[in-house]
Symmetry: C2
Subunit: 159 residues, 2 copies
């Protein structure tokens, strides 16, 4: 048997986790409803100008971060797995409907685990090469995803 892709490979992957003071159902809503995503998914002072979600395997996850200077960047991903309240997987290696993208960069795995009154939210960004992992790291992955997960921690209890 060929070795499986490991869930977390420190050579290729980046991980951020936070405990959220909300149920897994509420945390799931924060991750899967455009009106919620727009409230926390861009590191401040950036905002999410647009968000489109078709929550099924093959469906679109498209969002548009806007910087304070007005610069926008469109990110179009495809959902791969949708396991409500537990696990969400999406990638920019495929466009919606699974068509290969021209510049694949990462696959994201987001998992939720109940911890009493809290929910542990873990995000892993998987890359195809050490070069892309290192690039994502240099782009400020831990500042970026770390910051948005801090914003999730602040936002989710109010849903």
């Amino acid at each position: 048997m060929t070795p499986r892709s490991k869930p977390f490979d420190p050579r290729l992957d980046l991980k951020v986790e936070r405990e959220v003071r909300a149920s897994a159902e509420t945390a799931w809503a924060a991750w899967t409803r455009p009106e919620h995503i727009r409230q926390w998914y861009a590191p401040a002072p950036g905002v999410i100008a647009e968000c489109e979600i078709d929550l099924r395997p093959g469906g679109i996850f498209r969002f548009v971060p806007r910087q304070p200077d007005g610069t926008e960047h469109v990110v179009t991903c495809c959902y791969l797995e949708v396991d409500p309240f537990r696990r969400l997987v999406w990638t920019d290696a495929l466009l919606p409907g699974y068509r290969p993208a021209t510049t694949p960069f990462f696959t994201a795995l987001m998992t939720l685990e109940p911890r009493g009154d809290l929910t542990l939210c873990t995000t892993v960004a998987m890359h195809g090469s050490e070069g892309n992992r290192d690039l994502h790291d240099a782009m400020g992955f831990h500042d970026g995803w770390g910051t948005v997960l801090d914003q999730l921690v602040a936002f989710a209890p109010g849903i």
Copy 2:
């Protein structure tokens, strides 16, 4: 709403279909069991030297065509959708476990539709660019996939 990826886009996709004299269950088995895949999935006189299947979203579909001169070529794909007897989707844009591949080329959609005593088997190869579509065409897509689907037509009734 953003336009969805169309099921078949002649600018980007290639399609081959055949009627198989077997049930959808039998045709499905031909597509999803390594011992069957090895019998028909390489255009003769090539053979499939190895085949590994983990039939679930995120699971591996790995096969090794061998040419008569002994040349082997390893193809590693990831299943995306597994809808028994109806629809199978896999891609080489992701490795098993959804890790982005370094050289994404195509996503394959295989559908089965009962037609009385026959089953219509349709395969679509989706590409990310016209260049990759044209490359696949020039590589002999219609000869290759056309030939293996003819081999499926000959093989499946004997399962």
